[in-house]
Every structure is written in structure tokens, then in C-alpha cells.
């Protein structure tokens, strides 16, 4: 059965949802699933904007065939070639042998690399600023390199104000019939997944997102719909989302608050982290998020570290090094280019405590523009009452830094 939704006059969502996939990109858990969005425009010519993952291809075909009502598919616009959107290209080409493909030079290169047989089709290569008319609708193409692949572009329909945004403005989470941002409570139900999607998938490329936001700013008053490749379609309150993107891509925290991430083998480091959290709350800091790095997927930790201004890392010493899972978190922060945060360190070790020095060194040398508070809590195996003053000093330093 087809399952489509109308976005605006003659434009339809023809994508599909995936609740079976456990790991997006085979790395990030998606307990709420994910949607693969594709869009069909019925102008004088018929145009499909992007396709879907191979697992959802059947649904896409049903949707497109239903809406075409026997008309041929004239154009296929590929904004982003990553296989969660591009994998069904081959099937589209087989079913509509006369379809013409519109995409960037690099995307065509990637199609060949991925083994899609485009040679028997007319391939129209477009670049930044090119326009194309499908009859009533004229679109303009805007290059979006490294958001988050090099071949990516976004397409703006100047006739109805629809921005086909590729992976920008997307989110994890399958759609439950409700397509538009104003049909859901985004700030309550979606923002965490949207953040986790952005920070882990696109987080590294802040400068290129800023560049794209700069281009979007020029046409902001003309944008009526933002149609991303994952998650809800935006047709109101776009300033909310753009503000989030602006913070994330400048690596500025959304909120003043403290992420406490601890690595504990037997609960002693965890107890210290808990004691610090309680002190902080007692001192009036209530925006606290606490995670055990060993059983929290790093994508959640990354998402939270993009949200909050302060990060407490509490780690045991393991083989004279940083606890491996904590080390992995640090390396992911580096990979995703996180910047401008204030860190506090709790270290633990029963015979040679190294984790604090090593974490500080990593933060100082591998991450950009970070501050590490001087006050550090050092434990020899467990937190004892004689360390109360140090614990207080650490909490005070965090509070003072938060109030700056």
C-alpha cells in the first residue's frame, strides 16, 4: 500500500520509515528508528528528489507509482549520494528508463563508484547557482560541500519556497504519520534525536555548515518549507532550528549546564561523580546530566557535550592510561571537532593515578580552545571524608565558572 503525504501543492513526501535498523551507519543506535525522506513534484514534468535506503525501496516505488498515475518519471534530482538516500537509484533507473538525472559532478562520480548504471541515461551536471525549470517550478542549486559529504547540494524551489535540504536539518526518529514540525512537539520529543543526529553525523563540519547557513540567510525570507532527508518537514518556527544549527556549528553550547561522564570499574569513581553532582545541585546548579560512559553509547555523550557548557570527566586509571571507553569518548570529541567547553577532572587510581594528567593532556593538546579547571579531585581507590574540602573546592570552581 502506498503511504504518501502532501507537503504543498503538487509536492508529496514519498519516503519510508525504518524501525528495524538497530544502528544508523552501523554505528549509532536509533531506538526510535529513522525516516528516509524522498519527495515527488508533479509539475509539467515529474521530478523525484532523492531516493531511499535499499531496505525501503519497495515502499518508495509504490508511493511514486501511485502519484504518477501512469505518467513517466521525467527527472531524478540527487542532492546527496550516501546510500541511505542513493541506494534505490538503480531501481528507479530500471523502472523509468527515460528518466534524466540531475546532480553534481562528484555525485555522478560516486554513482559510478557505488555501481549504479547511469550511462544509458541523460545526466545533467549542475553546480552552484545553476537553475532548472520543470514547467511551473524553477529550482536553483546550492552547493553544500562537506555537509557532510563533498558531493552534497541543496535545491531551492523559487516558485513555492521549498528547500530540499539534503542531510541538513535532519533528525533520527521514524515518522509516525505526522510529517510536519507543527504536528509534533519537537522541543519535547525530537530535539534530542535531532541533536544527536547533527552532532555525530555533521558535527565535525561546523565551518561548512556556517557557510551554508550564510547562503541560506540570503533567501531566508523566501523559504516556506525545509524538506530534509530524515525526520520532520519544517513549515513554521524555522528560527528555532536555525538557532540550534548556529550554536552547534559554531561549537557554542546551547545551555549553561554540566555533563558528568564517569568511567567506574567498581562504583568508587561513580560514587565520587555522584557526590560532586549532589554538591552542585545543592549549590544551585540544576542543569546536570550524568552518564556512565561504559553503558551509554558515545553518540549520546557527544550530543550532550554539544548541548552543555561544562563537562566533568571522571575516570579510573586503567593499564596506566585513561579507561578505554572514556578515551574513546575523548577521541570522538576530537573527531567531531568539539570546542569551547570548560572541563573538570576527577581521577582515580589505586597505585599510580595517571588518568587525570592524561585526560588533561588530551584536552589541552588534542582539542581546540578548551579550558580545564585547575581544581582536580584525585582519589586513591575511593572517596573518603578527608577529601570533602577538595570535593567542595571542585564544585565551587564549577559553579564559579558557570556564573562567569
Amino acid at each position: 500500500m502506498y503511504c504518501v503525504r502532501k507537503v504543498t501543492e503538487e509536492l508529496y513526501w514519498v519516503g519510508a520509515n525504518d524501525r528495524r535498523l538497530a544502528l544508523f551507519e552501523n554505528i549509532h543506535p536509533i531506538p526510535r528508528g529513522v525516516s528516509y525522506n524522498a519527495y515527488l513534484l508533479r509539475d509539467e514534468k515529474t521530478v523525484l528528489f532523492d531516493t531511499v535506503d535499499w531496505s525501503a525501496c519497495r515502499q518508495l516505488i509504490e508511493n511514486v507509482e501511485h502519484l504518477l498515475e501512469g505518467r513517466p518519471l521525467d527527472y531524478l534530482v540527487i542532492n546527496h549520494m550516501e546510500p541511505d538516500h542513493g541506494a534505490s537509484i538503480e531501481e528507479i533507473l530500471l523502472r523509468w528508463p527515460d528518466v534524466k538525472i540531475i546532480s553534481t559532478e562528484k555525485a555522478f562520480l560516486f554513482m559510478h563508484q557505488f555501481g549504479f548504471h547511469t550511462d544509458s541515461h541523460e545526466c545533467i551536471t549542475v553546480k552552484e547557482g545553476d537553475t532548472f525549470s520543470f514547467g511551473g517550478h524553477t529550482v536553483t542549486f546550492i552547493a553544500a560541500p562537506m555537509v557532510h559529504w563533498p558531493e552534497a547540494m541543496v535545491t531551492f524551489d523559487t516558485t513555492n519556497g521549498v528547500l530540499f535540504a539534503a542531510d541538513a536539518f535532519g533528525s533520527f526518529g521514524a515518522l509516525d504519520g505526522r510529517l510536519f514540525n507543527d504536528e509534533v512537539n519537537f522541543d519535547r520529543d525530537w530535539i534530542d534525536d535531532a541533536r544527536r543526529y547533527y552532532t555525530n553525523i555533521v558535527g565535525k563540519y561546523g565551518p561548512h555548515v556556517q557557510k551554508l547557513l550564510g547562503k541560506a540567510a540570503g533567501i531566508l525570507d523566501q523559504i516556506r518549507f525545509i524538506c530534509p532527508l530524515h525526520g520532520p518537514v519544517w513549515r513554521s518556527d524555522m528560527g528555532y532550528l536555525i538557532d540550534k544549527y548556529d550554536h552547534w556549528s559554531r561549537y557554542e553550547p546551547e545551555e549553561k549546564g554540566v555533563l558528568i561522564a564517569y568511567a567506574s570499574m567498581y562504583g568508587n569513581t561513580e560514587a565520587a561523580a555522584g557526590a560532586l553532582a549532589a554538591r552542585l545541585a545543592e549549590k544551585g546548579v540544576t542543569n546536570i546530566a550524568m552518564y556512565d560512559v561504559s553503558n551509554t553509547h558515545v553518540s549520546y555523550l557527544i550530543s550532550e557535550s554539544f548541548r552543555l557548557s561544562h563537562i566533568v570527566l571522571a575516570s579510573v586509571t586503567y593499564n596506566l592510561g585513561i579507561y578505554p571507553v572514556m578515551h574513546n569518548f575523548l577521541m570522538d570529541m576530537k573527531a567531531l571537532n568539539l570546542q569551547n567547553r570548560t572541563f573538570a577532572i576527577i581521577e582515580n587510581g589505586s597505585w599510580a593515578c595517571k588518568s587525570g594528567d592524561l585526560m588533561q593532556k588530551f584536552i589541552d593538546e588534542q582539542l581546540k580552545n578548551m579550558t580545564v579547571l585547575n581544581e582536580r579531585l584525585s582519589l586513591a581507590s575511593s572517596l573518603k571524608a578527608d577529601k570533602a574540602a577538595e570535593l567542595d573546592a571542585l564544585a565551587d570552581a564549577i559553579v564559579e565558572s558557570l556564573n562567569k
Binding site: 565535525k204 565551518p207 561548512h208 593515578c353 579550558t371 582536580r376 584525585s378 578527608d386 574540602a389
Partner: protein, 640 residues
């Protein structure tokens, strides 16, 4: 292409040559013998505008090019090697950093009189432990709010003490290596700025060379040259240009010796004909002339590259290396041609022979020139693979002290009483209030201040000194581990260290404690650390804010007396004095991200695989440079 100087260059050469022949040549032997400085000649050179040859007219210069300047040095050195280096050190080393890195105010105040020749400039980088390796710089400049306090000294400074204006390099952030060095403009005559003896040198004796001594010299804030932490960069950029001057000097010395030898070989008759007719001598002359021509092209080419703002560091190093190496060979051959006559004092070739030697040594030994050249050829190999000279310039030279950034102020002036008074004054100035105190048995972790005893305290009865000092200072009593564990002078819960109690209060007075790592880790959060120990090399002194090198038996009673204010008032709850965050060196330039793959070009790292040296700014990358990861061109990069 015709590799030739312009008629204007040759006209300038003729002028300077005539001046050197008339004004310097007659007194050169006397200056050499008497270690004298050609004051009068230098004054006249200033009047002729030659002391600012390459600087713009608006800054008092002659507005000529770098090649004109090189010719100037060459022609002076041709007659007298010392005169050549006076000009070179003045123009390249003393004036250039102000020209290149100075503010408009600094240029107006300092560069203009220097370029006009009204004042003489010098450059102070070398120290006893910082020659080829500037990272060993020990002269310090401490930020005192409205001024910098300069302490330390420089050696082998050309033009000192004749010079009026000195560009001096000093450590402003300790223990972070060359990124902690800053440059300052210092004037002769400021209180605390003195000179050591004028060195008695083998050659270039008409050039004055002396030691600089800085003793609490107050340098106004506005005399910081460039930004804080840019000193090493400024020094290296200056030396790049200075090499052209030294190369020109070596070239001139060799040229002079060669001309003398050529003339002599035509006059000196042996076996019935001029010795020039002997193939052995003529071949020598042929070799000498060939080497000179080769050196001259290297020097002039480097000067032209610099003039046209092309990269010239490697080429200047090649010129300096080659010109000075062949200056030794040419002056040696010249003396050989002169035979016994050349070995006599008063002969120009004898003086040239001695003058030439320094050119392979100063402004970067020729070994360092080879390091510079090789590093440009090879690029920087992966970290950790390069020992010695191939190591990273910016990497800290030594591990940072365990206790972090400290003031390291060791009181040295006067007798023990004076040192103690200075210490107490400094502590009070920092805000330590000695009218209040805490009980001596306050737990270490809660103590605002602690007086701590190490093994250096000696016999147990000396603990009375610690107790008295603790009382006078209003402090709790602590100790090092052996004092509690082995000597048992205090209970076990009073020893300070990683394995014992951690002191995180404001004032820690370590008496007779040498500073084992475990102990230092226990006090790294102390706001102020005071060290009193008779061994000046004890690690505690590298980890302290204030120190007195002296016997605890002598110092402690004096300190006790100085702090004793009778009964202490109970201390209010501790307010922790903030410790400074160690400053992070500013990046040398912006990073750029590739639109084809996300690769980030960081100018600090360069792109060694593409032979782009560390420190190369993005806009200085060669045109043909492409992203090392995906091959996109430079135009696909955006600012990070």
C-alpha cells in the same frame, strides 16, 4: 636573463667603496690593534643615509633595496670586516625587527633615528645556555601590570655597548618552550641595564661586542615588540634576513683578501717572473675568483628574493653557509700567496684571515645553516622520529614543573635578613594576612597555610624552629613523607604528598624539603609555594613561587621574627587565592578546511609530505599545493 646589478647599484658600490678606502682603510690597522670602534666613520655613514639603506624614506631610510644593503656591507667588509658587521647588525638585526613587527609608534620612536643613523641598534638573543637553541633562553620578563620586569643577561652582543636601542628576547611564559619567548625594545641607560666587558676577540676587532646585564630593568608595556609569545618567531625571521648581511660580510672580507693577493702575485718576482705566472699560484687565484663569483650570486639572489617578498630563508642560509665557508678558504689562500709577509701584523690579508672565521660561527653556525636548509628540503618528518635539531621548535624543552606555572622568584639580593624581608613583603603584597592564623593541628587538607619540614631540618630539636615559624605565620604544621614516616617527628597524618595529605590552601612554606615528585603532586594546587633550602638546585625551587637559597637554621628564625605579630586573630573561612591558568600560545594563523574531504590545514603543522614547512600560513602555500587527502585545490578551502 642577464644576471647583473643595475647601474644604480654599481654607483652606490662606488660611493661606499670610496668612503671605505678613504675613511676606514687608513685607521683599520689601528682599530684592529686597539680594539677600537670607528665612531666617526659610523656617524658619517649615518649622514649619508647608509645606516637605513633598505628602509622606506618615511621612516628615515634611504628607500633602497636589500641588494643595495648587501652591497654596502660587502664594500665595508672588503676593507674592514668589523665595519661590515657594524652595519649588518645595525640594519638586519637591531632595526629590522622593529621595522617588521613594530607598531607605528615604535617605528616612529625607534626606527626613524636608527635608519637616520642618529642611533645604533643591536640584537640580544644569545645567552650562555641559549646559542643555537633559543629554547634555552633564561632571561625573564615578568608582567608587573604597567611594565615588564626584565632579569637575566645576554652574551656576545654585536654593537654593544655602543648601541642605543636593543631588541631583547626574554621568557614571558616559562616552561612552554619557544612559544613562551617575547621580544622587547630596551634602551641603553635604563636603570638596571648594564654592560659586561668588551670582549677581546680574535677578529672583527673594530666591531664592538659586549655582554648585556639586566637587573630588574623596568620595560614599559608599550615596548613589547609584536605580541606576547611571538619572540621566537621574530628572532627566527630576523635571523633569516641577518644571514644575508653576514653572507655579504664574508663575501666582502674574501673579496678584499683576493684583490690583495691578486695584486701581490703580479708584483712579487720569484724565479725571474711574477709568481702569478706560476701555475700553482694562478690556479689558486682562479679557484678564489670562481668561489667569489659563486658566493656573490648566492648572496645577491637571496637579497633579491627577500626584496620581492619571495621565500628566502633557505636561500639566505645557503648564501651565509657558502660565503662564509669560502671566505675561510679564500683568505687562507690569499695568505698563502703572500707567504711570510702575509703572516705579519699590519697586513690586510692577516687581518682578513682572522676576521673571516667568525662568519662561519655567528648568526647561526654553519651547522645550523645546514639544519635550516635540510629542514626546508626534507620537511618535518613524523613526530618522534627526529632527534636533536630536527625536533619540533615549539615543543616544550622540558616537562612543565609538577606544580604548574609558578613565579620562580628566588631572592638573591643582600644578606639573609634582606632576603627574608623581601620575601615577607612579596607575600604581604600578594594578600597573605599574617595578623590572622589557624591552629597548628588544623588538618592539612583544610589548612589555609602550612609550614612544612623536610629532612633538611636535621635533628629533632630543630623542629622547634618549624613550630615557631608555624606560630608566627599562623599556619598548620606539615612535613615531607620521611619526616613523618622514618624520622617520626610528626604524626603520619601530617605528611603532605600524593600518598598523604593534599594541600590545596593558599600558602605553603617548604623548609628543608627538596621536592620529590610525590611531595610536589600533593601541593600542586597551593596558591603560593615558598621554598627554603640550602641546595639551590633542589627541585622545589623549580616548583616554587618564592625561594630563598639558605640554611634553615639561619633563615627560619629571621622569617619567624619578621612574621611574628604577637597573638593571631582566628582566621576567617578560607578564601582560595586563584592560581593563574597557564596561558595558551596564540595560533600563528588561521586553519582552513577542505570542501572535498574535511581535511584541516593547520599552519603550525604545515604539510610536511608536500614539503610545506611547519609555520607556513595558508595564504603562503604554493599555488600548486592541493589537499593532501583528496587533491582538491586551495580554492575549495574555507576558513575553519
Amino acid at each position: 636573463m642577464l644576471f647583473q646589478t643595475t647601474p644604480e647599484h654599481e654607483a652606490l658600490r662606488a660611493q661606499i667603496r670610496a668612503f671605505a678606502e678613504e675613511e676606514i682603510k687608513p685607521i683599520a690597522f689601528m682599530l684592529d690593534q686597539q680594539n677600537g670602534f670607528p665612531d666617526e666613520a659610523v656617524r658619517k655613514m649615518g649622514e649619508k643615509g647608509w645606516m637605513g639603506l633598505p628602509y622606506p624614506r618615511e621612516y628615515g631610510g634611504a628607500g633602497l633595496d636589500i641588494l643595495s644593503y648587501a652591497i654596502g656591507v660587502e664594500e665595508l667588509a672588503r676593507v674592514d670586516g668589523g665595519a661590515g658587521v657594524i652595519l649588518s647588525a645595525h640594519v638586519s638585526l637591531g632595526s629590522w625587527p622593529i621595522f617588521a613587527f613594530g607598531t607605528e609608534e615604535q617605528k616612529q620612536k625607534y626606527l626613524v633615528p636608527l635608519a637616520r643613523g642618529e642611533k645604533i641598534a643591536a640584537f640580544g638573543l644569545t645567552e650562555p645556555n641559549a646559542g643555537s637553541d633559543a629554547g634555552g633562553t633564561e632571561t625573564t620578563a615578568v608582567d608587573k601590570g604597567d611594565h615588564w620586569l626584565l632579569n637575566g643577561g645576554k652574551i656576545f652582543i654585536t654593537n654593544a655597548p655602543k648601541a642605543d636601542t636593543y631588541v631583547v628576547f626574554a621568557v614571558t611564559t616559562p616552561d612552554i618552550g619557544t612559544k613562551g619567548i617575547s621580544a622587547f625594545i630596551v634602551e641603553k641607560g635604563w636603570p638596571g641595564f648594564d654592560f659586561g666587558d668588551h670582549y677581546d676577540k680574535m677578529g672583527i676587532r673594530s666591531s664592538s661586542t659586549a655582554e648585556l646585564i639586566f637587573n630588574d630593568v623596568k620595560v614599559p608595556k608599550e615596548n613589547l615588540l609584536g605580541k606576547e609569545g611571538e619572540g621566537f618567531k621574530i628572532a627566527m625571521a630576523t635571523l633569516d634576513g641577518g644571514r644575508i648581511g653576514i653572507a655579504a660580510q664574508a663575501l666582502g672580507i674574501a673579496q678584499g683578501a683576493y684583490e690583495h693577493a691578486l695584486a701581490y702575485s703580479r708584483e712579487r718576482i720569484q724565479f725571474g717572473k711574477p709568481i702569478a705566472a706560476q701555475q700553482g699560484v694562478s690556479f689558486k687565484l682562479a679557484d678564489m675568483a670562481t668561489k667569489l663569483r659563486c658566493a656573490r650570486f648566492l648572496v645577491y639572489s637571496a637579497a633579491e628574493l627577500k626584496e620581492h617578498h619571495e621565500r628566502y630563508g633557505m636561500e639566505a642560509a645557503m648564501a651565509k653557509l657558502y660565503a662564509s665557508d669560502i671566505a675561510l678558504e679564500v683568505t687562507n689562500d690569499a695568505m698563502q700567496i703572500f707567504g711570510g709577509s702575509g703572516f705579519l701584523k699590519g697586513m690586510e690579508v692577516e687581518r682578513a684571515y682572522r676576521d673571516a672565521k667568525i662568519t662561519t660561527i655567528y648568526e647561526g653556525t654553519n651547522e645550523i645553516q645546514r639544519v635550516v636548509i635540510a629542514s626546508q628540503l626534507i620537511g618535518r618528518l613524523s613526530r618522534g622520529s627526529g632527534g636533536g635539531g630536527g625536533g619540533s621548535r615549539s615543543a616544550p624543552k622540558k616537562p612543565a614543573p609538577i606544580t604548574g606555572v609558578r613565579k620562580h622568584h628566588i631572592f638573591k639580593e643582600g644578606d639573609a635578613q634582606a632576603k627574608v624581608d623581601a620575601l615577607v613583603a612579596a607575600l604581604k603584597k600578594d594578600g597573605h594576612d599574617f595578623t590572622v592564623g589557624i591552629p597548628a593541628d588544623t588538618p592539612i587538607s583544610q589548612a589555609e597555610r602550612v609550614v612544612s619540614a623536610g629532612k633538611g631540618i636535621g635533628a629533632k630539636e630543630n623542629m622547634a624552629l618549624i613550630e615557631a615559624l608555624a606560630k608566627a605565620a599562623g599556619a598548620a604544621i606539615g612535613s615531607s613523607r620521611p619526616v613523618a614516616e622514618t624520622l617520626k617527628y610528626v604524626p603520619l597524618n601530617r605528611y603532605v604528598g600524593m600518598s598523604g595529605q593534599k594541600f590545596t590552601g593558599n600558602l605553603y612554606i617548604a623548609c628543608g624539603i627538596s621536592g620529590a615528585n610525590q611531595h610536589l603532586k600533593g601541593i600542586k594546587d597551593a596558591s603560593t609555594i615558598v621554598a627554603i633550602n640550602k641546595n639551590g638546585n633542589a627541585p622545589i625551587f623549580k616548583n616554587c613561587d618564592y625561594g630563598i637559597v639558605g640554611d634553615v637554621m639561619e633563615i627560619l628564625p629571621l622569617l619567624t621574627a619578621a612574621l611574628d605579630t604577637g597573638e593571631k586573630q582566628p582566621a576567617p573561612p578560607m578564601v582560595k587565592m586563584k592560581r593563574p591558568q597557564p596561558p595558551k600560545p596564540a595560533p600563528i594563523g588561521k586553519s582552513y578546511v577542505c570542501g572535498g574531504c574535511g581535511y584541516e590545514y593547520n599552519p603550525e603543522l604545515g604539510d610536511p609530505e608536500s614539503e610545506v614547512a611547519p609555520g607556513t600560513l595558508f595564504d603562503k602555500l604554493p599555488e600548486e599545493w592541493v589537499c593532501p587527502e583528496c587533491g582538491e585545490g586551495r580554492d575549495q578551502f574555507i576558513e575553519a
